[in-house]
Symmetry: C2
Subunit: 325 residues, 2 copies
């Protein structure tokens, strides 16, 4: 199967509108508010194991983690470029067509790419989106002392899913997630849900677009661990953040699953990463957007955790460091 034939079949899957084929992809539609651009990779044995994730699901994960960056930028996904390096036994066409489909589901089009051979799968997606507003007012540097901190969803479930994968959990095409041995029957459904959350996070695109309508809001997508991303938000804005443990701690069954997996429940929340939930700081009330207040922005720099008993402790910038190994 040569490159030309593969590209022709991927173009056929895109349909008549396909722009694949030229040296550069011509994106000549009017873009009155410019673009927001992001790039993210999924690398075999770093982000996933091939035995644990089918190519189609990997494609969906790749699109989701990129789309999450656009959610944090109040942008609508428009154009994707896929650079794929993979071994000879990797189904390049099926994977690429799944990327086309996953892009389509968030409203975007595959417009270009690059194919190469390598020992391990390295899939890199560049995603270009159209911002719903014209200024970069949804950046990390927009938090102000007096703001409240907001979140929607449950940070930490992805960390449990990641540990389940490490122990042999997997999610193949056309099946339910499969658990490793040793998960108690009462926690099986929750554990499958954690695997789904880890393998295929849901980018909060609609929420990001709504946030784009606010006068001032700071946002970051929580991908590398709540603590680390809070530190980024605080540092970029030159403020401090106090997060309330009660509003971010895992529900009781998830705490039980964490213990079963040998994880500290709070550590899973603040250090786990891969949740792809938006963390937001603003002086607006966001209950109407389904968000809940989970902390406060203060003038005193640093990131702190307010425990259930009222004690406040420094929260170090743990979490995932992409260069840490």
């Amino acid at each position: 199967v040569g490159e030309e034939a593969a590209i022709a079949r991927i173009a056929a899957h895109i349909g008549r509108r396909s722009r694949l084929g030229d040296d550069g992809a011509w994106l000549t539609e009017p873009l009155p508010r410019g673009l927001v651009a992001t790039v993210d990779s999924q690398i075999e044995d770093v982000h996933f194991r091939r035995s644990a994730l089918s190519p189609g699901r990997l494609a969906r994960r790749l699109v989701a983690v990129n789309a999450s960056d656009l959610a944090a930028s109040a942008s609508v996904p428009r154009f994707g470029l896929l650079a794929l390096a993979a071994p000879a036994d990797f189904p390049v066409e099926a994977f690429s067509c799944a990327v086309v489909d996953a892009l389509g589901e968030v409203g975007a089009e595959l417009v270009g790419g690059d194919l190469a051979r390598s020992d391990k799968v390295v899939a890199t997606l560049t995603l270009l989106g159209e911002p719903v507003r014209s200024g970069p007012l949804l950046g990390r540097n927009q938090a102000r002392s007096g703001d409240r901190l907001w979140i929607r969803g449950t940070p930490g479930l992805a960390a449990l899913g990641c540990e389940l994968m490490r122990r042999g959990g997997r999610w193949l095409e056309g099946r339910d997630p499969e658990l490793p041995t040793g998960v108690p029957a009462t926690l099986e459904e929750l554990a499958r849900s954690c695997l789904r959350t880890f393998f295929e996070p849901t980018p909060q695109l609609a929420l990001g677009r709504e946030l784009g309508g606010l006068a001032r809001v700071a946002a970051i997508d929580c991908s590398d661990g709540l603590a680390k991303d809070l530190h980024r938000l605080a540092a970029a804005s030159g403020v401090g953040i106090v997060v309330d443990e009660a509003s971010i701690e895992l529900p009781a069954p998830a705490r039980e699953l964490a213990h079963q997996l040998g994880l500290d429940p709070l550590e899973a929340v603040v250090g786990g990463g891969e949740d792809y939930l938006l963390l937001v700081a603003t002086d607006q009330d966001l209950v109407g957007l389904g968000m809940r207040a989970c902390g406060a922005v203060e003038a005193e720099t640093g990131v702190r955790l307010r425990r259930a008993n009222g004690a406040v402790a420094t929260l170090p910038a743990a979490g995932w460091d992409h260069l840490g190994g």
Copy 2:
């Protein structure tokens, strides 16, 4: 060295204008003619050997191969996004700063990226450029029967450079290219030039911008071998192409170097690839742009080679297949 610190130092190298740091890069300048987007990777042991190419030169090569795609799209480089996966001993910061510098030399800015660990270096650059005209009229599908085929520069030298690298040639920072043993003294200067051409091709950006001013022109950057790229141009336009051997053959000293390296000189030209020269078909005279006619576009499909004695032979689509191994 953590990720945050690395990004901060890369941002400092970019300077006060740096847009690094948010989840998505805000490219909100007016882009009245839209954008052209391209992506290309350089992969260790596929495109280069780390022992043969310093990180700084790899950075320049990565930018050059992407910029060449924009040259073929009559576009001015504007924004780059770098996804870099590399082992712990790879100098991520120095490499990234070299990408910033190389982008700056073609007028572009590093606006975003992604860092990760991997066993081998996989460097992927997405390059966004502004087209000098508003329609995709510089595509591969614009060749018409009766056009002449044009080229500037000497295809095949990069193939000699690639073979010299395979035999131990290398180009480290702050040095001249180093040759493998066995190159005759009279051919040493030429051989060093071939290594330079292979390792650091010069994208024909100014030529591409000039071509963008013509009424109709087909263009492709000759990266995967002249024969293969001629087939792509012919197929996309639904025409045939006859290329004249006399106008593309290597000069005598390069033919001699090819023989010394055990390569067929004609095969180096038509099958070698990595030259990054623009191949152009148009009914205009392009001598004024420094190009020379090297063939003709015909109604009869297929790609043919007119030998020096006037005989015409089918030219198969040999050359580099990215999925071929």
